[in-house]
Symmetry: C2
Subunit: 668 residues, 2 copies
């Protein structure tokens, strides 16, 4: 699936595997042997958290793993579970569920890039079972053992963490800056906060949080994660696989039978009927919001994701769910009836039928009642960017993103701050007793880094920070600040940094690409940021002369002569002139050889005064990719002391769930 220009470009889902054309070399990432247990070895559980178990036995028919004579997988495999020091029991008996039906299927994979190039897939036959909707209540270590093929065994060591069921926070507000790194935070501070002789005169709101941590984002089966995989870790405490939402990925054909793990939203609702808010600047079926309620291996099942927001999981017994209090974002194409919506249904109507107030622009949003459940869908696809809404508003008149499906424009969109504060008002009104969990995502930090649109990405980050500041202020105004754990983090990074400045006047005056590079200034020649120096000769309100109220920290000039020399560590072919892209979000690379050929070159209409930079990514890539780096975690409020130092992304789930009192050491 590839998109190219205008609206379609804006729809491009950054992390989606469309550009993953290089080597695949794992039969099933979670299963290096021929017997597979999911949840796999090293999985951790919250006491009382529901999950499914999938076991698979593989028989490779060809390729490097063939066992001569073993072409049909053993169907007499057994799974046992034992708590530390106790006698193993058959899984069905241990969990007191019926023995599941045997399932069989086949799948194929490529062992490496040579096999892929030669189109010689390896085939595998599978025998499998699934034990569904089980839980472990007693803290401690467990071992799951899969016996198969006459003495072969796969083991999974599981740990149920010893987390007290005591609730310490009434509310949790979790901000996710999608793709946000420390490097980006540093750059955003530079362009929006004044310094004098090197000393900042103000800092970001997140800078002032008392506790700082780093989370490691390594996923189950790859060291680079996507947002589905990492959101699953953050919300469930279980690391998973690229593209997977709230499940471990199995090898079966359907993407709706993979073994599920219960999410923080589901547990909070099950135990407390607490309020849940989901806010994102992405299309709302996108991975980071989706992973709170969806359970599918394929994040691309957008329609089903929307149905899960409203109805929960319906094809298997699972946690009851009656929809969040608040669901705000973009992605109208999954709501108005048509090929984008689940079963072609009108999901505006589906939500309205369940007593949701449905709003489609900021004006109505701000006037709507705080006592109703509310669905706010403000555009087709991802919502407009802060830079376009605030500095280049004419760009909102270009894309036909009206949320009502009318093919009109969506010029009255709220920002993350407006959506988040309204969400808090509703959650506070509806859940004064039982508290709330709000996830608010600045999605387009990631999306704009993907397309090398650094200015727009940093604008989104500053909007996130402005939202955090407004949130603290609002929580204080309603007397909830001390009872609310506020956590700001990311789900993964992009390899971004700032290395100096660029004299764009000099660059634009040079003809030769090598000469243009001479406009770059490093070390002492980086000088000072010019983004807060308004151009007094520019017209009032222009992008070179912006005026904000005191304490509002955004650049006063997005188009200074001396801009940031900034970039990514992984690029498609593109051109750089280091100037703001005034006519709308950037599209750095283009397939100039044919529409479906995945052969990307420099977009000849992008950054035309710049010099050409050849990429290092596969030529099938039209945008940047995620990176490895640990990402920061800023925390304040009850339980803040648990979030310092360096830990895994799953520890965020356990910290939040523990603070909300979500563990249960016996069947409720």
């Amino acid at each position: 699936m590839r998109f190219h220009l205008g609206l379609k470009a804006a729809l491009a889902v950054g992390a989606f595997c469309a550009q993953c054309t290089a080597q695949t070399y794992q039969r099933l990432g979670s299963c290096p042997t021929l017997g597979c247990i999911l949840p796999p070895d090293q999985a951790d559980f919250l006491p009382g958290q529901y999950f499914d178990i999938r076991v698979e036995v593989h028989a490779p028919l060809n390729g490097s793993e063939v066992i001569p004579g073993y072409t049909n997988p053993d169907t007499n495999f057994t799974l046992t579970i034992a708590r530390d020091g106790q006698t193993p029991k058959a899984a069905a008996s241990f969990f007191n569920v019926s023995e599941p039906t045997l399932e069989t299927w086949n799948f194929t994979w490529y062992e490496d890039l040579f096999a892929k190039a030669a189109n010689t897939p390896s085939q595998v036959r599978v025998a499998a079972k699934a034990y569904r909707h089980v839980a472990l209540y007693q803290p401690g270590n467990y071992i799951a053992t899969l016996n198969y093929r006459n003495g072969s065994a796969t083991y999974a060591n599981w740990t149920v963490r010893d987390i007290a069921p005591t609730r310490k926070a009434k509310n949790v507000v979790m901000f996710i800056g999608d793709g946000m790194t420390t490097n980006m935070i540093t750059a955003a501070r530079l362009i929006a906060h004044h310094q004098i002789n090197g000393k900042y005169q103000s800092k970001l709101a997140m800078d002032s949080f008392p506790v700082l941590g780093h989370q490691m984002t390594h996923s189950l089966d790859s060291y680079i994660t996507d947002s589905a995989n990492s959101a699953t870790a953050l919300y469930t405490g279980h690391k998973s696989t690229v593209n997977a939402l709230g499940v471990y990925a199995d090898s079966s054909k359907t993407s709706f039978d993979d073994p599920k793990v219960e999410t923080i939203a589901e547990i909070f609702y099950r135990l407390y009927k607490g309020g849940v808010g989901i806010v994102s600047t992405a299309f709302i079926a996108d991975a980071t919001p989706a992973a709170l309620t969806a359970h599918t291996r394929d994040r691309g099942q957008y329609g089903a994701v929307i149905d899960s927001f409203l109805n929960g999981i319906t094809n298997y017994t699972w946690t009851n769910w009656s929809g969040p209090d608040v669901l705000f974002g973009g992605g109208a194409e999954q709501f108005y009836p048509g090929k984008g919506s689940f079963q072609g249904k009108d999901y505006y109507a589906e939500f309205a039928n369940k007593n949701y107030t449905v709003v489609q622009n900021n004006t109505i949003l701000q006037k709507s009642s705080n006592s109703s459940k509310t669905l706010g869908i403000f555009s087709v696809s991802n919502m407009a960017k802060w830079l376009d809404r605030n500095v280049y508003p004419d760009n909102l008149k270009i894309a036909k993103t009206a949320p009502d499906g009318s093919n009109g424009t969506a010029t009255d969109q709220p920002g993350l701050k407006e959506m988040t504060i309204k969400a808090l008002e509703i959650l506070h009104t509806r859940h004064q007793q039982d508290g709330f969990f709000l996830m608010s995502e600045a999605a387009s930090i990631d999306k704009q880094m993907h397309t090398l649109d650094y200015d727009r990405a940093l604008g989104e980050l500053l909007e996130l920070d402005d939202t955090i500041k407004a949130t603290l202020s609002y929580l204080e105004s309603i007397g909830e600040l001390n009872d609310t754990l506020v956590l700001v983090t990311a789900d993964h990074g992009h390899g971004f940094d700032v290395m100096g400045n660029v004299d764009t006047k000099f660059l634009n005056a040079q003809k030769d690409d090598r000469d243009k590079r001479g406009a770059v200034g490093t070390y002492q020649n980086s000088g000072l940021s010019q983004y807060l120096v308004a151009n007094r000769s520019a017209p009032v309100g222009s992008d070179q002369n912006l005026i904000y109220n005191a304490g509002v920290n955004f650049p006063s000039n997005w188009d200074p002569r001396y801009t940031l020399y900034q970039g990514l560590t992984a690029n498609p072919d593109h051109r750089e002139n280091y100037q703001v892209h005034k006519t709308g979000p950037r599209l750095p690379a283009l397939n100039i050889t044919g529409f479906d050929n995945d052969d990307y070159y420099v977009n000849y209409v992008d950054a035309v005064t710049g010099f050409i930079v050849n990429g290092t990514l596969p030529v099938s890539a039209d945008q940047g990719v995620h990176s490895l780096t640990d990402v920061p975690v800023f925390t304040r409020g009850p339980c803040q002391e648990q979030f310092g130092g360096v830990y895994g992304n799953i520890d965020i789930f356990f910290g939040l769930a523990g603070c909300l009192g979500l563990s249960r050491t016996s069947h409720p």
Copy 2:
């Protein structure tokens, strides 16, 4: 100054301004007006810390700042100082020093790249004074006022921080990973620590420190710092200028009269006669070690730096200094008599004459007494890298870096761990009562990132972590762990990250550059790190089959088929094949058009199987450059609670100095 191959390349000083060919646009960075006060506005001081004051009055003769008729600077300027709410006093009277002599000079600068290209410098005439060796004792706010030219005034608001003189730590060990970022730490963990299903089975030593912070490295007059500038901030609490060591840079011709600020080592020695150790894998005159005792605007004054280690500052009255207890590193060319050494003297003899034990290899180092002051210089230039010492030791037989100046090789070099533990043994032996301050620098994280030699850089980072682990263990063994504040940080970053993997076999099998890029795997195709999977068919001890003792965390295989897809955000022209450089440190770019022409292209003998990547840096750059990102601070021990959250690099000085009890609220 440019170097090209072999030893000379190894000598290249990363951050030096040789490659800063782009715009200069500040007359004097700390002085945007025509009257200059150093320390400038916003400077912070430790109570009782000595410093010099420089005031300058500028009269531009041409360029954009000319004032018609004002061609000679006002020589009747006055400087006053006032504590908050008190009457200003003339500076000489306030500090009870003699009124300084008036000085005058001229200097020139370029206003921008166009002026530089046209060779049209702007000229400035200067009148100046310096008030030397003064201090402020009472915490609070002060204002320095420079009145000049009939009513013009420049103000500097100074703050003496309210820091109690109580000593809380007996010892401080400060580790500096030069250029080390969170991203690099994440990558080093990936290649040296096992994970199972995404969960690390061990972590880095620094990961386990209880308190994490981020420091902002923005310098006085540019947002990108070099290591001199940042070391000055870390050791003195004063932000400075690129290339400046322990001074604010003024505009005078000599680099030995700039206004000084007292360093943590100097204060600790002055107040407690405490032990001081200085350890680095760089040539020891390099910026990070140098800034503990040197006071010069020009970090390139290597000989004078060495003299300052031994004799302190001799051209002005300054803190008495009799040399550190330990000085270990490279840079023999500043010690044996010759053009590299200060005044051509033999500094081995100079140190020996002051009762230093002088050692030149690891064998002798390990046997030498712990009761003597010790100078250990183990190679010409920067010391050998961990990867070469441990995996490719034959590379040590190539460079003629014998520390005795014999033009032999230096094959018996200690690593950072050996130097650091020996330093601790000496410091502990000599300073059981008064405690010690040790700075230990992993210098070549930075140096190898500069040359895009990611493997060597990560090897250095892992050696740093191994050194930290050994340090904690040693401190515990001598009963000093609980009395020692251990702090691990960096001085700046490089824009580095890991984005996936590379199938080097596939890459090497492709002929076309665009096809080679198809070997890159991202997201799920990054798979798992192969650096801990030894190649069982490789010879024992080869770089594909390395065996370490349990708990020693380095890669088992530096040359796996699937390597890291990694890179920097700022590059010269170069080629990438993503394989380890087996024959010695990398040299990515080369001047193929002439020796002094600063016109760099891809080095045709580097990474020859790879594809070409054109850089974004000026073509005069042969290596990468520093970046903006906040860098991490890991702390454990007394006062650890002061180092959480986000703060400036100068706050590290104030935290360390406060913990060591270095403030004095009255003249001693």
